[in-house]
């Protein structure tokens, strides 16, 4: 300021307006829309780009209501401490990022717009691509788990949740060994497996081990692990596919245990040592039949007999003597003699022998035991009688009558009618009754056995049925069938599931080994036969082979796993083979599918550089997975008019097609039947290509198409590409459609991802170019914009010096103002360039001696204004991690400000120090200067924001904006606290 020039606020404002107008020429150069509006929403200024982008703004001359509610916006802006607001605005297909900056001094709002359509689009695409990829992993029939090189879980599919019970969010980030999911006994196997994967010895492996689910239950799992290495053979990740095979194992187990149980039961029943349990003699023998037999025999022999159980109960009896029934068995004591005789005297007689004895009541008796099923259940007695050749001791009986109080006459009369038998008759009777006893034993036992067998048979049949039923159900779930081959009878039995797997009717088909071989796929037949036969010869006990079969019902080719076990007789000859057949088609397909997918992804991520390469890898996989000979892919243009041939599979290129070139465009409307899929938007199978009525024929050199399958890739209802395969040896089926569709979609996502990556790369390059242009722009501003100012200043000065005598005071004043204006503008340009330099400049972090830096700045300030007396305290030993040059600028501004704003303070004091809290260091510059009102605190750091008039404190308002930019670039924060008249404290952190 020139001394003595009168100044007031309004003049100053006019000056600023003039400056602003001059500055207004900058935005013209800005390629992005810039506008300035007053608080009513009227357009004060709009640059060239703005006019083009927002014609409504120009036409209306004010803020267009469609762009938002202006009044609300202004109100928000006024209340917003930062003084700026951002919005996103879509005009047609273009998306703009709008920044509104409130300039309170000018009572205006500046609007900066940036076209972010592309960025938005790319963001969306990336999101979709990732989403679809995750989706595919989640829909896989196998559980997919991915580990990073440290074996932390990074991916956990939905199926993994089902198998193990943990949700993804519970396990992601957890180390494999920290999750209690490995069955303790299998820990060693799993650890070894991990080590092998690490050492790159076995980049792929298949393991079966037990795992523990979240709920604690134990499951059997098949783990298919693939390690992904980078080009230096460092492990990047491990992709595991897990199949829960518990059901399969249970089915195997069920088969084994059901067989064992059946065998044990049968043995029990057939063993002669049956257990008769609580049966009594009366329950066993046919009393009526025996009674009738012995009645007849008694009529001839006259010898009484009885069948008595061990408790003394008479089961069958004939020729009972009055002496027994009327006397001996009536009197308590004599009855005891009878029973004692019956039981004790008959003890220990072997089966098939007789014991002759005199009972305690003085008469003869004979006895033989009835032993049924090895158990003594009763006795057969003959008696009582007297031998014909012996004299009866009548005195004894008379004495008996007296002793036990029997009527003597009647008792003796009864004695007289006791049979007297010859010894020959007795021998005969003995023989008859021995045979009878033996027959009773044998017959009864046979009866029991028969009865029991029948009961048991029913039970067993039921048990077998239910166990078979369970087995069948388990087999059907696990797709495991069981078979048995009896090599002696050459009879083969198949479980229901085998019939199902083979596609045969159970009733209408006899299971034989030959029939089995017939079902086996012709190409695998010899190998299957050989596997079985050689396992018989070479003294092995088992065999295991995987082969294909041709399902009889539908001609499907299925993959089965066939396992068998042999049973040998004493001579070591195999008499029986039992085994299982499991349909592993789905597992194999899923496996193959995953392998394809993994291969594609790995290739696409690592080796493939160009879209065409990726596409070719994909097409090769599609081709091999569907067993095809041709693979091709066309993209469909946005108008849905043209098909553009994108690539062929490697095989197609090598062997087949020479006629058409990649990149050829075919109008969809005119293309042949192969384009049906694009026209109809659904998969098309032509298994009878040659006989299609609307076929157009192929150009010369084109491979002959026998069969083809073409599927569309549809996005947002539009076909974007078609993938085709052709010339499979057999007809294409729905399974091929599913496989090709899946791989096709995956390919498309990979292509999109690659494209997105490419576009991101291009937009990064564009950004670099834009930065380059900005640099050039800044450079030219620095040179060219200053030159006219120099002329203004220089010639004003010349006028003042050389023509002062021709100028009056007003003229002189004008010239002085002219010079001041141009100098101010020069300062503004310099500050702006500085600010932009802070952003453009490369940043390198070093250890910075903050104390030394502050001291250097303070020294410079003191040298520039030696008249000032300021006490500056700088904390010793402060260091920071940052860019030394940028930090010097930031600190220079802060200390410079403190210096400036204490210029009117007596005993000015500046303090530079630091505090540490929660390991974060905060640096501060504190002064006791004029300070500011905290309600403006957030405006401090905006460019050209000033809280003081230039007359009080000079400056362009760019310093703190520069500080903020520098601190932000360091990842730190800067803030200020103050009270008017009480000084200010500026603090900052550096991350």
């Amino acid at each position: 300021m020139t001394a003595g020039t009168p100044r007031n606020a309004s003049r100053k404002n006019k000056e600023d307006t003039a400056e602003r107008k001059r500055l207004a020429s900058f935005p013209e150069l800005n390629p992005n829309p810039v506008a300035e509006l007053n608080l009513n929403g009227s357009v004060l200024y709009i640059n060239k780009s703005g006019k083009k982008t927002f014609p409504d703004l120009v036409k209306l001359g004010r803020f267009h209501p469609l762009m938002g509610n202006w009044d609300k916006l202004v109100e928000k802006l006024r209340n917003d401490p930062s003084g700026n607001l951002t919005r996103e605005l879509e005009i047609g297909a273009t998306c703009y990022h709008l920044t509104f900056v409130y300039a309170p001094e000018e009572k205006a709002v500046r609007l900066y717009a940036l076209d972010i359509t592309k960025r938005k689009l790319l963001e969306n695409e990336l999101r979709t691509a990732k989403h679809i990829l995750d989706d595919q992993i989640n829909n896989s029939p196998l559980a997919i788990i991915e580990f990073d090189s440290e074996f932390h879980i990074t991916k956990w599919s939905e199926e993994a949740e089902n198998v193990f019970g943990w949700a993804a969010e519970e396990v992601i980030g957890i180390k494999m060994t920290d999750l209690a999911w490995i069955y303790e006994e299998d820990l060693q196997i799993v650890e070894e497996e991990s080590r092998n994967l690490f050492s790159a010895k076995t980049p792929r492996s298949l393991n079966t081990n037990r795992n523990v689910r979240k709920d604690g239950s134990v499951i059997w799992c098949e783990w298919y692990d693939s390690a992904v290495y980078d080009s230096n053979e460092n492990l990047i990740s491990v992709l595991s596919q897990v199949l829960d095979i518990t059901k399969r194992m249970e089915a195997e187990e069920a088969l084994k245990s059901s067989e064992q149980r059946v065998r044990r039961q049968l043995e029990n029943v057939l063993s002669p040592e049956g257990d008769l349990g609580a049966l009594e003699l009366a329950d066993i023998v046919d009393a009526a039949a025996i009674q009738s037999l012995v009645n007849d025999f008694y009529a001839i022999s006259g010898i009484p007999m009885a069948l008595i159980d061990l408790k003394g109960d008479v089961v069958v009896g004939v020729g009972w003597q009055d002496i027994c029934t009327r006397f001996h068995r009536i009197n308590e004591e004599t009855c005891r003699f009878c029973v004692e005789s019956d039981i004790h005297l008959t003890e220990g007689i072997p089966a098939g022998e007789f014991k002759l004895y005199r009972c305690k009541n003085g008469m003869w008796d004979m006895a033989t035991p009835i032993i049924i099923g090895g158990e003594h259940l009763g006795n057969l007695f003959c008696g009582q009688f007297f031998f014909a050749d012996e004299a009866v001791d009548r005195a004894f009986f008379a004495n008996q009558a007296k002793r036990y109080g029997f009527a003597k006459d009647a008792y003796l009369a009864a004695l007289e009618i006791v049979p007297r038998v010859t010894r020959a008759d007795v021998d005969l009777t003995i023989n008859v009754y021995l045979k009878l006893a033996a027959n009773i034993s044998q017959l009864s036992y046979n009866n029991i056995r028969l009865a029991r067998l029948l009961v048991r048979k029913d039970e067993l049949t039921k048990a077998l049925e239910s166990s078979e039923d369970r087995l069948n159900r388990a087999q059907s779930i696990a797709k495991v069938g069981s078979w048995e081959l009896n090599l002696i009878t050459n009879k083969m039995t198949w479980s229901d599931e085998i019939f199902r797997i083979f596609g045969l009717e159970k009733q209408a088909f006899e299971a034989t080994y030959a029939a089995f071989l017939d079902i086996v796929h012709p190409a695998d037949r010899a190998a299957a036969d050989e596997a079985y036969a050689s396992s018989l010869c070479e003294g092995q006990d088992s065999f295991e082979i995987m082969h294909r079969i041709v399902n009889r019902a539908n001609g499907d080719i299925r993959f089965v796993e066939d396992k068998g076990q042999h049973f040998r007789n004493n001579e070591g000859r195999v008499v029986r083979s039992v085994g299982m057949v499991q349909d592993i088609t789905e597992r194999k397909k899923a496996d193959e599918f995953m392998r394809s997918q993994l291969h594609m992804l790995t290739e696409a991520n690592t080796s493939a550089q160009f879209l065409d390469d990726i596409l070719q890898i994909f097409l090769d996989e599609c081709e091999s997975l569907t067993g095809s000979q041709i693979g091709f892919c066309h993209f469909v243009d946005e108008d849905q008019q043209m098909l553009i041939l994108q690539n062929y599979s490697t095989k197609t290129l090598a062997n087949a097609c020479t006629a058409e070139g990649i990149g050829t465009r075919y109008p969809i409307a005119d293309a042949g039947v192969w384009a049906d899929c694009a026209r109809q938007g659904r998969p098309i199978i032509h298994n009878d290509y040659s006989s299609l009525p609307n076929r157009r024929g192929t150009p010369a050199g084109h491979v002959t198409v026998v069969r083809e399958l073409v599927i569309p890739i549809t996005k947002n209802g539009q076909v974007v590409a078609i993938f085709g395969v052709g010339n499979k040896a057999t007809d294409y089926t729905e399974a091929d459609v599913a496989a090709l569709t899946h791989l096709g979609n995956l390919s498309w996502e990979m292509i999109r991802r690659k494209r997105t990556e490419e576009e991101l790369r291009l937009s990064a390059a564009a950004l670099a170019t834009a930065n380059q242009e900005l640099e050039t722009f800044a450079y030219s501003v620095s040179h060219d914009l200053r030159a006219p100012l120099r002329s203004l200043d220089g010639f004003s000065r010349a006028l003042l010096e050389d023509y002062s005598d021709q100028l009056d005071a007003t003229g002189t004043d004008y010239l002085v103002r002219l010079r001041k204006g141009s100098q101010k503008m020069a300062q503004l340009i310099d500050d702006l360039l500085n600010l932009s330099r802070m952003t453009r400049q490369d940043m390198t972090r070093h250890r910075v001696d903050v104390t030394a830096l502050a001291e250097k700045i303070a020294k410079n300030l003191a040298e520039q204004s030696p008249e000032r007396k300021v006490k500056i305290d700088i904390e010793p030993g402060m260091v920071a991690d940052g860019d030394p040059k940028l930090l010097e600028v930031a600190l220079g501004n802060l200390i410079g400000n403190a210096w400036k704003f204490t210029s009117q303070t007596e005993k000015a004091r500046i303090e530079v120090g630091s505090r540490e809290k929660d390991r974060e260091k905060t640096y501060f510059v504190r002064d006791n200067g004029v300070g500011f009102d905290m309600k403006y605190a957030d405006k401090l750091f905006g460019p050209f924001q000033r809280l003081h008039h230039a007359a009080e404190f000079p400056g362009t308002g760019i310093g703190l904006a520069t500080v903020q930019r520098i601190i932000n670039r360091h990842g730190g924060q800067v803030w200020a606290t103050s009270k008017p008249g009480k000084g200010a404290k500026f603090s900052f952190t550096l991350s």
């Binding site: 800044a778 450079y779 620095s782 040179h783 060219d784 200053r786 030159a787 006219p788 100012l789 120099r790 002329s791 200043d793 220089g794 010639f795 004003s796 000065r797 010349a798 010079r819 141009s822 100098q823 503008m825 020069a826 310099d830 360039l833």
Partner: protein, 149 residues
């Protein structure tokens, strides 16, 4: 006998006028030859084209070089004159509006003897010219044996 020519390479006529004025104010009486672009400067220095046959005595004792010039830019001029035997030791003062660091660095690395940023404030400019004169024309001794060594 040297005529103490100062070569001013400057395309902006205003700056030429102001520079000449600053010289005059500081009583620098050397002959000032103005080249309006880099090509003309090189032609003068190497006495070719329109300057063919110019006496060697008119070789400048000092070159004031702007950086942003039509045709051949200042840094290129500097490079070429430093490469030529005839001008390799002539003091060159880069006199430019730019305060871009890369300009400054490149100027020095190409062999500029001094780098002066043209201030907008004419007083400061005049001051700067005065400093130049003092150092390069009065205090600084030229290379021994004229420019030929």
């Amino acid at each position: 006998m040297s005529q103490n020519v100062i070569l001013l390479v400057e395309d902006n006529p205003d700056d030429v006028l102001l520079t000449e004025r600053a010289f005059k104010q500081n009583n620098i009486m050397n002959i000032i030859v103005v080249a309006r672009d880099g090509a003309e400067a090189l032609d003068y220095l190497f006495a070719r084209n329109q300057f063919a046959g110019r006496p060697k005595e008119e070789d400048p004792v000092i070159i004031l070089l702007d950086l942003k010039l039509p045709k051949v830019d200042g840094l290129q001029v500097l490079k070429e004159l430093r490469a030529a035997k005839r001008t390799k030791l002539t003091p060159v003062i880069v006199l430019t509006s730019s305060s871009e660091e890369r300009d400054m660095c490149e100027s020095y690395s190409l062999g500029a003897n001094s780098y002066v940023r043209k201030p907008v404030d004419f007083v400061k400019f005049s001051e700067a010219v005065k400093q130049l004169e003092l150092y390069w024309l009065v205090l600084n001794e030229g290379p021994p044996g004229g420019n030929g060594c």
